[in-house]
Symmetry: C2
Subunit: 1005 residues, 2 copies
């Protein structure tokens, strides 16, 4: 074909030489080995929500905010690709592509499939969105990528080969190795990196590297990584959206302003400039930017002309390309590439512009995403138990909502307010449907018949739970089913608000168990009343008086049942906790919080905690916490805003000094309540049987009547000598070492001593010295640092009054409203603190970390009489009764796919060398996970489940690196189809398709 094509082209060009009107452009060039090859990659960067909602972006609605219509992009790109088979385009965001695909005719779908088959249209990245890398949990990243990849695979049989994270504001280790190498990507490309780092890399031609994101998995999970010299748009003067100002090539001699040679010269000059900072004779131009190609012809026409005339000129070779073609060309060049480890945080694009504010922006939304992520994990398990219903209520809507919420302007908190509300609305609709799935699955599993259904309490965090608050009269009981989505048995105190005092709790054997009532203080109740109206539009009908607490004991991947009923006499009722209110009471200056191994000392004079003492481990450490705020810089030069953290002074927040604190002690837990300010409430909670402190906070509205935006932080302070070193996690997975005012890759010039030392925290952070380690775990993404030895600082809340000029164009000043009564955002959340002898912290961090992500799920039913346990399954575990998952592993996905196949992901929870006991190969016995089902087939897949693992490994490119020494990598071996035991090396996640002989059988049947 090729010679024929060229002959016909020649003929057409000859005709043109005579007539010179109708031009046929030769767009066929491919790579030329002996020239500088300019890979022109047409692309559109389509944010899955930002200034507008995802659907507004898709349909082109709300254009007064931003003219953007992804439907136009896809319509016009497909049409332009069909017009010339040499043209190529990459598409990235499957949330948009799926919307478009659903609306197309079968005829067009067939044409598009052909475009994919012949390489004209290539899916890159291929998740539902281009996720953020700082603030999502790795399970969410996997889920959203899987959703997109499976769609692509189902419709086109294509498996994306390239990561394309061009816009996120910093880049995580987990992205590189887990969402990169482990999904089968050969390369990853992005634009944003520290300006100092970029400058050095340009000088040293190290913008392209091989990145090993995981210490544990090393070269077995590396990939080629290319950083753009500037941004993800073409060099200046080569943008061709409708109305763009770049001069088009004017090659019609009949018209004025003929400019072919001038434009070719521009092209060659720009290409040479880039070649000067790039290794090999291949460079890539990302031909597009945000929401471009709304009329694709406007781009393709000019790119056609450039390819034609630049190649006639002959100095460089311009070609239609994709990142895959570019990657292969880089690979073939047989270059030895520099190595990169760890990550690319924090990101600064100039001296005072550190993109570390968004680690915390919209903290309630971040919490909502995280809560629903854990709920989705549990709901899928219960959906699998019951059997997936494609048409009825299922977890798909929640999956979809959570997927787009991982977008780099979603969970990041950098979208406009109405868009944040849209994400939240989608999650809430998805949750509502998933809640039905959970309720009906529990109904099935408990064999509950016609007596209503289970209710759940998503607003438990603000003390709102109508089913538990109902007065238990007339012999009615409250049935509480406690589900444990984790593969190991748990004993945990559960709490929910109740109204009456005479109350007792029995387990499923009818045995009364110890329980505790804690009076609810007024201030949180006021907030609850307001927030319930704001969130639900309803006024709470009851006023709970107490938190009821008892210890639930729940089997792995199963549930236990507890019955709450009216106590016959006070002897049997729940123990009322004692309340010491120091504004009126007197007593010792030092009060001890905690009745188990852990004791916290509270100095009632100074109104602060002073010591952390563990009687078992003999750790005894000065300990205090404090609050302070950073004043948000409001300079027009660079303000602190949704993205940017630019503090203008740090201001400690002292307690009021009015003894506005209370200590509450009961048999199961002790609490210290403090109101540092009317807008800072904190509860420090110590459970009898746990060795960590749980800190609950209710923060806000942050006052702004002084005209100053504030970024609220808390400091956990010990006396550890931590040598400027601290550790933060990467998307809740690997911990990365951070050193104050230091970067591994270049000599840091420090311009922002606070903001430049902030890192994203999803799981937690820790510091250590020779003998002790201090760990903090979080319930959502926050920014944090260790600015002072022995101290960990978390930024919990932000309220700012200036836009930081990074595009969102809106002030990050969140409010909640009941009708017209709008108040600054009130935030509720928790963090967890533990101090361990050095070397012991990892066990707690990994174990509790998993439990925070997957809390016990409570479901409530009202019961007439006392016969529940006789007519219901009151306890259940999916897995073999004799079995539980090893403590260093977790089931992170258990999901029935539409095909009936079950998607199972098992994760090793520890890194190499992290724990002396657990950083070893672990084994999981699949047969014991599914005791009542016959496994017919187990297929190991890549992480995103779009191809078999073997197939992926076979295709993987083996990059040569400058430093190739590394310790032996430990990974699990093949799964014996008879034994069905899965081995997991440290940090390894393995993904399987599991097929059963009979699927719809319930464990309980």
């Amino acid at each position: 074909m090729k010679p024929f094509l060229n002959i016909s082209l020649f003929f057409l060009l000859l005709i043109c030489a005579i007539d010179c009107k109708y031009m046929v452009y030769d767009t066929s060039p491919t790579i030329q080995p002996n020239k500088l090859n300019v890979h022109l990659v047409p692309h559109s960067h389509d944010d899955v929500g930002w200034l507008k909602t995802v659907d507004q972006y898709y349909t082109g609605a709300n254009n007064s905010i931003r003219g953007a219509c992804v439907q136009n992009v896809l319509d016009s790109v497909i049409s332009a690709l069909l017009d010339d088979k040499n043209r190529k385009f990459i598409y990235v965001e499957i949330a948009f592509f799926q919307r478009w695909w659903n609306q197309q005719s079968e005829i067009l779908k067939d044409k598009v499939k052909e475009l994919v088959n012949n390489g004209q249209l290539e899916f890159i990245n291929g998740g539902m969105c281009m996720h953020d890398e700082a603030t999502p949990h790795y399970v969410d990243l996997i889920d959203q990528t899987t959703l997109g990849h499976m769609f692509i695979n189902k419709e086109f049989g294509q498996k994306p080969r390239v990561g394309w994270q061009i816009d996120p504001f910093g880049h995580s280790a987990v992205q590189a190795y887990l969402l990169g190498a482990e999904v089968g990507f050969d390369s990853l490309f992005f634009a944003r990196m520290d300006y100092q780092d970029r400058e050095k890399r340009k000088n040293e031609k190290t913008l392209e590297v091989v990145w090993r994101g995981s210490r544990s998995l090393g070269s077995s999970s590396q990939l080629f990584t290319g950083i753009f010299p500037r941004h993800y748009d073409p060099p200046d003067g080569f943008t061709f959206e409708i109305n763009d100002v770049s001069p088009p090539i004017q090659d019609d001699h009949l018209l004025f302003d003929y400019n072919v040679q001038e434009r070719v010269n521009d092209f060659v000059a720009a290409a040479i400039a880039q070649a000067n900072v790039t290794r090999t004779n291949h460079i890539m131009w990302a031909m597009g930017t945000d929401f471009r190609y709304q009329y694709a012809v406007s781009w393709f026409r000019q790119i056609d002309k450039f390819i034609h005339y630049v190649n006639l000129d002959g100095r460089v070779n311009a070609l239609y390309s994709t990142p895959s073609i570019y990657t292969d060309a880089k690979y073939v060049a047989n270059e030895t590439w520099p190595l990169k480890t760890d990550d690319f945080f924090p990101y600064a694009d100039k001296a005072n512009t550190y993109w570390t504010g968004y680690f915390t922006s919209r903290p309630n939304f971040k919490g909502y995403v995280r809560t629903n992520s854990g709920y989705y994990t549990a709901a899928r398990q219960l959906e699998f138990y019951k059997g997936r219903n494609s048409s009825g209520p299922n977890t798909d809507a929640l999956a979809d909502a959570l997927a787009i919420a991982q977008h780099h302007d979603a969970v990041s908190g950098t979208q406009r307010q109405h868009v944040a509300s849209d994400y939240a609305l989608r999650i809430s609709k998805g949750y509502a449907e998933a809640e039905e799935v959970v309720a009906s699955s529990l109904a099935s599993l408990t064999a509950l018949k016609s007596v209503g259904t289970f209710q759940q309490c998503p607003l438990l965090n603000i003390s709102y739970c109508p089913p538990s608050e109902a007065v238990l009269g007339d012999g009615k009981s409250l049935v509480v089913v406690v589900y444990n989505p984790i593969g190991w048995k748990r004993e945990e105190v559960v709490q929910f608000p109740v109204t009456s005092r005479e109350i007792m709790v029995r387990d499923s054997d009818g045995k009364e168990i110890e329980s505790q009532l804690t009076p609810i203080h007024n201030t949180p109740l006021d907030n609850t009343y307001y927030l319930v109206q704001a969130y639900t539009g309803k006024t709470p009908s009851t006023t709970p008086h107490y938190w009821l607490a008892f210890t639930a004991s729940v089997p792995p991947l199963g549930f236990s049942t507890y019955i709450v009923s009216t106590a016959k006499d006070t002897d049997t009722s729940a123990t009322m906790a004692t309340v010491w209110n120091f504004t009126s009471d007197t007593g010792d200056r030092i009060v001890v919080i905690g009745s188990g191994n852990l004791k916290l000392h509270f100095d009632t004079e100074e109104e602060k905690l002073t010591h952390y003492i563990n009687n078992r481990t003999m750790v005894e450490e000065p300990y205090e916490y404090s609050y302070s705020y950073y004043a948000g810089h409001n300079s027009t030069n660079q303000a602190s805003g949704a993205y940017i953290f630019r503090p203008n002074g740090k201001f400690p927040i002292k307690p009021a000094g009015q003894k506005d604190f209370r200590v509450i002690k009961g048999p199961l837990l002790h609490e210290l309540h403090q109101e540092t300010k009317p807008w800072i409430h904190q509860v420090t909670r110590v459970y009898k049987d746990k060795e960590h402190a749980e800190i609950g906070f209710m923060l806000g509205p942050i006052p702004i009547d002084d005209g100053v935006g504030k970024e609220l932080t808390t400091q956990i302070t010990t006396s550890l000598k931590t040598n400027k070193t601290f550790y933060t996690d990467s998307n809740g997975r690997d911990f990365i070492k951070r050193v104050l005012d230091y970067r591994t890759d270049w000599d840091l010039e420090v311009n922002e001593p606070v903001a430049g030392n902030y890192y994203p925290i999803n799981l937690g952070a820790y510091v250590e010295d020779g003998s002790t380690e201090l760990s903090v775990l979080v319930d959502r993404a926050v920014g944090g640092s260790s600015l002072v030895d022995g101290q960990i600082e978390l930024m919990l809340h932000r309220r700012l009054l200036f836009d930081d000029a990074k595009g969102v164009g809106e002030v990050l000043n969140e409010t909640i409203c009941v009708v017209d009564d709008c108040r600054g955002l009130i935030l509720t959340g928790k963090y967890y603190v533990r101090i361990d002898p050095k070397g012991d912290g990892a066990k707690w961090r990994r174990t509790l970390g998993q439990e925070i992500y997957s809390p016990l799920l409570l479901a409530f039913a009202e019961q007439e009489g006392n016969d529940w346990t006789s007519s219901h399954a009151s306890s259940f575990s999916m897995i073999d009764a004799s079995y539980s998952l090893p403590n260093n592993t977790a089931i992170i996905t258990l999901q029935e796919l539409e095909s009936g196949t079950v998607l199972l992901r098992l994760a090793h929870l520890y890194e190499v060398g992290e724990d002396k006991d657990y950083s070893v190969m672990a084994s999981v016995e699949l047969k014991k996970l599914f005791p009542n089902r016959k496994i017919s087939k187990v297929t190991e897949m890549n992480l995103s489940g779009n191809q078999e693992r073997d197939e992926m490994e076979k295709k993987r490119l083996n990059w040569k690196t400058q430093d190739s020494s590394e310790a032996k990598i430990v990974r699990g071996g093949g799964v014996d189809p008879e034994k069905l035991v899965v081995e997991l090396g440290p940090m390894e996640i393995r993904t399987f398709f599991v097929d059963f002989d009979y699927l719809k059988m319930f464990a309980s049947e």
Copy 2:
């Protein structure tokens, strides 16, 4: 086909009802008689130059000024039309379409032809541009329309049926009847009209009328005229360009913000609102505006949906339509329509916003266009004589440049400066090529062999003519060929600058004729020196000292030759005029200017003219002229600018009082030179054998150092009692009666007593009382009025310092530059004044008017020795020696078309009742026009030459009007093929295709 289509549609819709993702929209609706029909007319209004040049608009270059690319419009529209055969689009500006067409493949051209054939793509208006209606000459309007219509006819066989002058700033009578009815249009649509008029018409439902633009041609040249209720865009909320803010219809249940019913309600409400001001149950929505449909799908997708859902709703009927379909629907409705006569000037869109400034804006450019229009008319005649050369130099480029210069932001003077320069550059290139045609035709006609070629002097108006300025030494003579493009014999004084004093002029018989030398004053020479450099980039190499004048006598459509040579002695040399310089000389207080019938009295004390006396007609009338300026309003509320005339006070400009005037008297003409200000030079010129005064002026730079923009006017003042009534022409053709502070169609509320009484003048203006009439003729378009009885005011020049916020975004402050020496524009021009007994003025206006438009064309050659007349044809006339055209007729077009056929247009120059002798049927004998050729065929065509006249008349719609009484219309009858005599009724223009048996024969052979 229709039933099949509907069945298949039904089937597809059924599929959708099941799956509801892929939607097929029913776009097939046509007119429904019993519903309100909303005719949706997709269109793009593409200015042929305005903020950007025509080619920049076409290619999308220079988008930093304005994002607009007509290539995108046409590419994407054609593609969208091919996608759905119910979609329709109209295209208007052939200058753009032709550019696009030239670049298309034959395959696509065939598809486009099919779109035209099936009515999806309809050409509307169809000239090269949407011409201005205030400032072009009717010959230019005809030529530019013909160019477009012939292109359409040649490529598609289509004849546009509808005038579409949606944007011009006021509407002329000539547009309606001549460029409307006479080209075969059934209707005309536009948007802009006086706001008071519009309000009344909306109330009375008279926005749609039948317009009779010509008193002379009445109902034989009427057409249906529709004025849009607001502008030429859709109702608010229905614009769908990429990035437009109107809410798109969101009809995908899978996405958020479903809004079908809401949008249908919006549509119905907007339709009903328009129906309330419109007769019949048909309304039209112009679905588009400036440079829209850059991605046509963005519009068509939404219009598809509206048609589909609005018709499902059923309250109104929405359909794809065109103005033709709409016109036919209006016609079928059988309504009786109100009548409209005269025109729609001036246009005001609000109380203080009269669009009457542009009548004068860019006066030099207006003059340049007019000069080249006349030149083009002459050059086509000479091209025809010689035989057209399609490949060699021809007049096509000038035709093209003049055509686009008629655009409503071109000759109107309302474009940006760089665009004005582009138009001028195109004209100058076209002129240069036409000059070659003229030179070589004259060379052929004079049988000149190898002795160089003829030179012409386009800068004669600024005293620059290198061939005539050359010193005649060594026995050389200067041969002057004087060509007369008019059909009657002319005797006129010709003048050109010469260097030497001893000079004589002989006619072609060798007979010495009377000649006069007039010394050239220094001030104009300084300006000449500067302007020549500015215009040509060259420094004048000689300095002429005199104007040489002699009377040339030239046959109709022919030339005479004169020889200028060195005089042997002073007796035989040209007569030196006497110069009276009153700063030094003394004499009578009253000096008489004029040695023939006309005498002007000049009062040297008062420094002004006082009387106009004609000894033949016995007219004796007080007469003076004066200058004054209007200060340009600079209010941000409404400034005076390129479009708008908003005076802020009128300031008389008094003569300096320093006797800075001179009187020059010679045998052929007298001149009065006055320098009212250093920037106001005027020469009043009276020829011995003419009875009018010719006023030459050189104006500028208008001083602006006081920060005030100025609009410079001249007043010609007599004592006539003119009763607030005056007459101005319509595009150089019909005169229309104007009454101060009065409109025929409504009770005028006067808000701008000056600007609101300004009218466009192309030929001239006159006032009259019971016994006398005062006429003024102009050499280009100007604005003018008669604000005071007996006085005519012309606005000659404008220089303003504020933008008037009508879109051009640039201040009308013209400068000319020599390298970095920039000065305010210096304007040169002429006007002509005559006072006649009542009833005699028309003859002069019509005759001299024609001669101003078609001046004698001078060509110069240097001759060795004295043998010119023996070796050359020194005199020539194309027409029969015994014949000349009747005095009331003109050949306005004589042009050889590419096919070889000759396009001939004959015009009657008088209106009904205008002159007692000439307002009668005239006859032209074609055989005598072409004495040496055999006419094989004469076909009468419509005005734009795209169809036979009979065919056009047969199709013409006969509208019923409310007032149908009128006097009998006089029109010429059919042309007897033997006699070949063409009759012309008053104001009639008839267009013929003339074919000859042998074409390339020259009259001179």
